[in-house]
């Protein structure tokens, strides 16, 4: 018997196969992550907690960078500018006006978003995208570094030290050393940043900016205001990065020009996202989970090397050299990063 005609199966509107599982899965993953992060500080010791905080700061920066550079396709080599603006605004407002860091953090984010949008507008006005844009942002970060080093009210090269209160206060974000809140706060911030990424990537402006990244002319011809959608991405990205900076200042009670605006800060925003996967939601987190502990491990190794690595005693620079090699290898051989490549592999297998 042979069938001459195959009738296409009709699909009802409420068919489970048509359900939007993508959003649900992302949100479930985020929920699991939130639970894990909430429990972690209860079980690990203080030393690991400090590494965890650093990793979380890396991750928030990476998520921020990824918003404009991954989804928006606008490569920034100067995210230190926004991290630093967040850190300095927070420190300055807390010291001078005794504001709560929570409020100072938000003001810093708004301020950084405004500056970032202005810089991006200057560069994009003449379609100076690509490498030019990257170097222009880098130049602005350098400019801010010099400004911070020369401005009297930012205490020049000495930087700003935050006042230490005698008591614990959630409102002033100060706790006894080793208090679990020091981990819970950046964890919460990271979960919010990832939530923003998930929702933004699916929203109309988020889809627009990805379309403009993939083909600017085609996107514009469909009526997308490319400039405006890009500026929205930049705004979000700078705000998230500034929050990371503000928490950095708050956690270390100090911010100086190099810690805020140094080149290595921009690199720390780029590396997690590139390692994990540019333009993916979880990539920056995966990257940060590799980079943060790895950097700590290498530092530890150099402080007290085993006998066969004796020659490395007291040598500095190895940790960054390792990132550098990782960065080059990933860009050459795993264009989509670790998470991006794995994800592709899994979808491929599913489809077979």
């Amino acid at each position: 018997m042979k069938q001459t005609e195959t009738e296409l199966p009709r699909v009802a509107a409420d068919d489970p196969r048509l359900r939007d599982t993508d959003l649900r899965n992302s949100l479930i993953t985020l929920g699991v992550l939130a639970v894990v992060l909430a429990v972690l500080p209860l079980v690990v010791n203080e030393r690991i907690e400090s590494i965890l905080v650093l990793t979380l700061i890396f991750a928030i920066m990476g998520v921020g960078w990824n918003l404009m550079s991954g989804f928006g396709g606008l490569f920034s080599f100067g995210h230190a500018a926004f991290f630093g603006v967040g850190a300095y605004t927070n420190a300055y407002l807390v010291i001078e006006y005794e504001l709560s860091p929570w409020i100072a953090m938000i003001i810093g984010a708004v301020f950084a978003a405004a500056i970032g949008t202005f810089i991006a507008f200057l560069c994009l006005r003449y379609k100076l995208a690509g490498a030019y844009f990257a170097l222009a942002t880098f130049a602005f970060a350098q400019m801010f570094l010099l400004l911070a080093q020369n401005l009297e009210f930012l205490n020049k090269t000495d930087g700003l030290s935050l006042p230490i209160l005698g008591e614990e206060s959630f409102w002033h974000m100060q706790f006894r050393q080793g208090n679990d809140w020091y981990v819970w706060i950046p964890s919460g911030l990271l979960v919010i940043a990832l939530g923003i990424t998930i929702l933004y990537a699916r929203s109309r402006p988020g889809r627009y900016v990805q379309a403009a990244r993939d083909d600017e002319v085609a996107a514009a011809s469909l009526g997308i205001n490319v400039m405006r959608t890009r500026l929205v991405a930049v705004m979000l990205s700078c705000a998230v990065t500034a929050i990371a900076g503000a928490y950095y200042a708050q956690y270390y009670f100090f911010v100086g020009p190099e810690q805020a605006f140094g080149t290595h800060v921009s690199v720390q925003a780029i590396v997690p996202a590139v390692l994990g996967g540019i333009g993916t939601i979880w990539g920056p987190l995966v990257g940060a989970l590799i980079v943060g502990p790895l950097a700590e491990y290498i530092k530890e190794l150099l402080r007290d090397p085993p006998s066969y690595l004796e020659f490395l005693q007291g040598v500095s620079g190895l940790d960054v050299a390792v990132y550098a090699v990782l960065l080059i290898v990933i860009v050459l051989f795993m264009r989509k990063g670790i998470y991006g490549t794995l994800k592709d592999k899994i979808t491929e297998r599913k489809n077979q």
């Binding site: 200057l122 100076l128 400004l147 050299a321 550098a324 090699v325 860009v331 050459l332």
Partner: protein, 332 residues
């Protein structure tokens, strides 16, 4: 825009090496007016101003050479080499290692460092960048050069440590120019840089190899169709860019205090210069280099410490605001 300016633009060829008669005159005019204003109303001793101008120009010559490498690589490969400053540092340490351990004089070491750096640049392009540049990826090469920059700086840090070192000088003494002092070492650096820049311009304009570079810069696909080996031109161009940096490194070695991060500021300075001159323009890089050199030394008369460098960024922002294509550039 006035009518005659349009006419001037339409007659010149649309190559990155084209010349525009108006911009350099305008730039020269602004610079001369600014200098005159500083002499007259600057409230600084005129001898001091002359000294700053002389040092600024001498510094600018070296900046020009570094920037030529960057602009050449950009013009041909479309890659902004983020490792440019780090390559300068690498060249400086080559020279340092050769002079201190083998006892070879500085300028002779430079002659050895140049082919070494050329080879380094050639290999970097061949092994790391070639696949990505031929695919036309923007981010890929940028990230690779970022990784390279980090790798060079930190490897140097591991090998030589972070303490500043200096290369023993070979030529002592100085010359007086209009009452300003210029050491022979700086004069050699300046004229050496200009000589190399002139040779490079000749190479680009007068030789068939130069023509193949220019053809790849204006249209890589077309160049490939008429038999230019584009991959080789890419690698050679990166090599030449690295060699320029090596010359600049060797010439500045006698009066530079070496640390692994000494070149870092050069990446951004060279970028600002290239933006000021116009991306891809060799003449622009030379003009921009001299202007930025002047801005830095004259700025130092008024602003202490790193403040002078801040002025350089003010120039950068002004260029971005009012003339984003640069003095000699073509509006994208």
């Amino acid at each position: 825009m006035p009518q005659h300016a349009n006419a001037a633009e339409s007659t010149s060829a649309a190559s990155p090496w084209r010349q525009q008669a108006r911009s350099p005159l305008l730039a020269a005019g602004i610079v001369i007016l600014a200098l005159a204003a500083i002499y007259l109303f600057g409230n600084r001793d005129s001898g001091l101003v002359t000294q700053s101008i002389v040092s600024g120009l001498l510094l600018g010559g070296v900046y020009a050479l570094v920037s030529i490498g960057l602009t050449l690589i950009f013009g041909v490969l479309g890659v902004v080499n983020f490792a440019h400053g780090a390559m300068l540092t690498l060249a400086l340490y080559f020279v340092y290692a050769l002079t201190t351990s083998a006892g070879i004089p500085v300028y002779l070491s430079t002659l050895i460092a140049v082919p070494l750096m050329f080879g380094f640049g050639f290999l970097v392009q061949r092994l790391l960048l070639n696949k990505l540049t031929t695919e036309g990826s923007h981010e890929g090469p940028l990230l690779i050069t970022l990784g390279l920059q980090l790798l060079i700086v930190n490897t140097l840090l591991m090998v030589f440590g972070g303490r500043p070192v200096s290369v023993p000088g070979s030529v002592d003494g100085s010359l007086r120019v209009f009452g300003a002092v210029a050491t022979y070492e700086r004069l050699i650096a300046f004229f050496g840089a200009l000589l190399v820049a002139a040779l490079l311009t000749l190479l680009l304009r007068r030789t068939s190899f130069g023509m193949s570079i220019r053809s790849v810069a204006s249209n890589a696909q077309g160049a490939a169709l008429v038999g230019v080996n584009v991959g080789r031109v890419y690698a050679m161009t990166f090599g030449i860019g690295a060699a320029c940096v090596a010359v600049a490194g060797g010439l500045t070695a006698p009066f530079t205090s070496l640390t692994p991060t000494v070149g870092e500021s050069f990446t951004v300075l060279a970028f600002v210069i290239v933006v000021l001159g116009g991306l891809g323009s060799v003449v622009g890089a030379i003009t921009g280099g001299l202007i930025i050199g002047l801005v830095q030394t004259i700025g130092a008369l008024y602003l202490p410490g790193t403040g002078a460098l801040l002025l350089v960024f003010v120039v950068f922002v002004l260029v971005l605001l009012f003339r984003p294509q640069g003095l000699f550039g073509v509006r994208p």
